[in-house]
Assembly symmetry: D2
């Protein structure tokens, strides 16, 4: 069985493991105060053109979202998100467990837009009984989204503008950030994101690392005491250097971008194969996740050799499924899949 069902099926990029082996016996201070973390921070700030940012390392995505959001909101405020946002659906209510409502905006493809945020904000403040309702307190987006879609620079600038007008910090979930930065049509750089977001994170778990998410806090007003929040939410790794080593490896000489590009290239091959064969795509994803709409008998056929995940029922005879590539996807496996798609009856 060749697995395309998710982007965390393998371990880490070999260079990361090698570095872990080499440094294994070194003695370092704990909790992210070591020199590997320090160097990784410098590399990341450089890559973001954001010398004054604070960079923190956490272990996983749910933990990271929860920690960031809990650090920003006051108790009567909520996080504005697409209905499909990870925090709205797939974190077992972690945000609510910190006391905050997720205020959802309708979305078909995972993206939300400046006008929607403005409308929700105005609707809240124009209601005479607004104190009976949760106050919007920040805007949460994912890039790429859960659906593989990405924001354009102008869309992100518009969101930023509205957020600033409304006094709402803009927070970006970048669990798959690398895959959103390397597509052919993408016009957003890490530096743009650092300029336009108040806080964002750079996902490692799905892009080359064993685990790890690098939080970048741009807005000075949101930096205070962030380490307390990491600790309180259980995210302060004792052997913090493991995170430093991984992000140093990913960012010291462009590995992060390089392996992201590979994954997206692989995904584009799969995308083209499906389109050429006449299948539609549920979302117009230019990233590592592809969502073809397939006849149910094709599912069975492909499923004999490849694993992929069921996304949703499309109609009585079709389903949407998800194929993921990753930094670790083997070219020969993709070529085999592409050939098998072409050979479908």
């Amino acid at each position: 069985m060749i697995r395309f069902e998710n982007d965390y099926a393998e371990g880490a990029h070999p260079r990361i493991l090698k570095r872990m082996m080499e440094t294994n016996e070194e003695q370092t201070p704990g909790y992210g105060m070591d020199e590997y973390c320090e160097r990784a921070r410098i590399h990341i700030k450089k890559a973001c053109h954001a010398e004054h940012a604070d960079v923190h390392f956490l272990v996983g995505g749910t933990q990271t979202n929860t920690t960031i959001i809990a650090s920003i909101l006051r108790p009567h405020q909520g996080a504005v998100s697409a209905t499909t946002g990870h925090i709205a659906v797939h974190e077992t209510g972690a945000i609510e467990a910190t006391g905050h409502k997720v205020l959802t905006l309708p979305s078909d493809d995972g993206k939300i837009y400046a006008e929607q945020v403005k409308e929700l904000f105005d609707a809240h403040w124009n209601d005479v009984t607004h104190e009976h309702m949760v106050q919007p307190g920040l805007v949460y987006i994912s890039h790429p989204t859960e659906n593989g879609t990405t924001y354009t620079k102008s869309e992100l600038e518009a969101l930023r503008k509205v957020c600033r007008e409304c006094g709402l910090p803009l927070v970006m979930d970048g669990a798959r950030l690398g895959y959103g930065l390397v597509g052919k049509e993408n016009d957003l750089s890490l530096a743009d994101i650092a300029k336009l977001c108040d806080v964002f994170y750079i996902g490692g778990t799905k892009i080359g690392a064993l685990f790890g998410e690098a939080v970048v806090i741009i807005n000075d007003g949101l930096k205070k005491d962030f380490r307390y929040f990491i600790k309180q939410r259980g995210g302060l790794l004792a052997k913090g250097r493991l995170l430093g080593i991984q992000f140093e490896t990913l960012f010291e000489d462009g590995l992060y971008e390089e392996i992201s590009s590979h994954a997206v290239e692989m995904a584009m091959s799969i995308r083209e194969a499906f389109l050429e064969k006449g299948f539609s795509l549920r979302y117009d994803s230019k990233t590592n996740q592809q969502f073809p709409i397939l006849p149910n008998d094709v599912l069975g056929k492909l499923g004999e050799k490849y694993s992929f995940s069921f996304w949703e029922k499309f109609d009585d005879s079709h389903s949407v499924v998800r194929f993921c590539t990753s930094w670790a996807t083997k070219k020969e496996n993709v070529e085999m899949l592409v050939a098998d798609i072409r050979d479908l009856a």
Copy 2:
């Protein structure tokens, strides 16, 4: 500088890293549903003589304590702990952040006793306005404690008896569990602990692993939906097999006990050296942490070559400090330290 300041200064036992390398390219399901985790669970249950236990893997100690406690208590209940308990002092209020008070019992050496629990329980229920106070909901102990002390079998049996009478689950924080099971005077086995506790965990972070704590739920009434809690608290590692691989390695052929013994042996050498030199120990620890009371000038002298941590002021001219050994402590370093202690003026 030779570091004795904590027991998480190095990486992982070489056999663990080797196994990670060997399996790095395998594709496995995420979130702990892989076969490494499954085998690790079987090894641990066998080591605990607890076939019917549920075993879950989390990343770190604060996360584990919070998840366990949140899964057990109702909102009006609190966790009974020594005033010095990790949850009471060093988790940035993680327990309170889940809504629960830590109900503290005085303790000089980190241990609490059956009679104290009974007294607190009775005081609560005998108060006519008990619903104005937090109800005791579980008893939390550490073994070894933060102070290196350990429970005897009869002490733990007495706690268990009282807990059962009071309807209070007994929860053991085993962040350093291995170091508490291998001392010469220790009369508690893993099987005893599994028999006497409702939930406990076996620490990996401080004993050979890169990270990881294995939660063992013995009490059937506390098993339900535990994976939801792990996810909600941010502890469900995407590449869960990393935890499985580590605990499989530690438990498949006795490595956990073997490396724990090494650490304690090293600590006993240091202990003896201090005692022989005429220094007192703040706590009577037979585990990997040693707390000598040293004249302040000795601190300076030893501090030139070794790092250790300040614990507390003893009097104007003496301090309590902590020396930690671990699975990774090198024998030659301990011998050098012992020699240097002997040579103190």
Copy 3:
């Protein structure tokens, strides 16, 4: 200005105030342990044909909903509610502030149905990654709803049946319960509600009392320690007898039903007047709230003499507004309003 804008504009029924005056100098124990509360409990249990129920008195609705829901759910569970439910919209995230998500079901008129609950329940448990999502933990309905609609006996029985199959407690918000029990077409009695719900409350604030909601817990499994929850949520009134006196007065000889009937009778006159004049109603309410769809110029005209509340925009030239009657609504005011509606151009 004659006010029809809400049902809490006046004080209390005169018999309640009189009783408060008469008993003002008596000394009673606090926190609901007095004999007024005790007698009120007996009257309410009798009215509900529920001798074994537990009855508790709280001050207001948001507090009551929060307390009930917090007492039932475990941390990873959520409350299923209509999107329009009071807990979902108008309690400033009080439920989320206790850590729980509100899981919403679409609803046009405030009601939710058995099939919807079943579908949500099945969707959760059929998802292989269900532990990544909030687990449905109880079903919350309002009777009457925020929209003035009510459940029929068969609808409530169907909900009950599904809830029981799914192991979900059924909780009824009865902030306006009286107004839902006295309509001509209503086929639900207090005894039916007590038979079909696990927990419900009988609203006093909007029906004759200065304040106060009487929680009735039918399900034995949900009774334990409820007073702790009241205290923790700030709802344990020091001079608890004030609640006892009010509910005793309302329930000792049928006053609650009598004044509820008056309010609904008044509302029916207003309803008929709008219908006769050819206006439509947004919701088919047979209770004390009426939601006519009015041309915007009519709003202006009626607004000169009467206050009512804006509900929502209907189209460019029409709005939905709300007229409320209550136990205190004066017949002559309603007659004047009815005449003025008839006289509209």
Copy 4:
């Protein structure tokens, strides 16, 4: 039985009830937006010499403490309190239920001092691992304390000074505030308190009202969005005018002070009687609560005619008990008690 067991045994001052009767049929807006509340706010600000304060009305003390504290702290911060503080002991963990630890300072008589606060603050920030511990976020005191003791002006000024140096808001629980302002030795006025505290509240429940606490927010930085907090915590009374009417009555012409003085005068008679008879007092209270240390046989004797509350065991033959007076205490009852104390064998 003549009751001295608490200060909330009766209803309200007759003038309050009279005013409620007179205004009962008026129609007013809800949730504290009525003119009674508005006038009450003006009276209170005048009494506090604090024109720029925000004044809000809540129902009870636990609710008020929780709401104030939740509005101030960030999630990683705790409230510094005496170990005996109401929030630390008698609110069923309401503060913890909002996610915050209560950081306790030892206290024999309910008071805490500037030096203690400074020491705790310094200990936190001097610890290199301070982010592993709850950060002090505000200082909570009661005046009078649970033990009937009061702060002097210079003590409060010292606390204020330290709080300002440490950036910690100073919050005063004034559930019995009136009783602390009228003693012969008291040198603190309402205006002083308004000058020295960031937030405080003026208790009505125990001083003349049926219920109600008036929160006075002096510090501009703490005013924002407070009504959201009231609503979220279940404290926004629908018929808010009931609070306005009560506080208007208490503050429009000095009734609050007048009835507070009566209670303290009555308490002083009881105090003198115990002292003259040779009994000691557990705390040196000049307020409405008195804590004599009595031989157990005396308890039995007095208990035949008077109710009072058991406070704590003093030794095998003595107990500390509490006698409370209030605005409603009848002079003839106190005279009878005094006579009976004199006649004790």
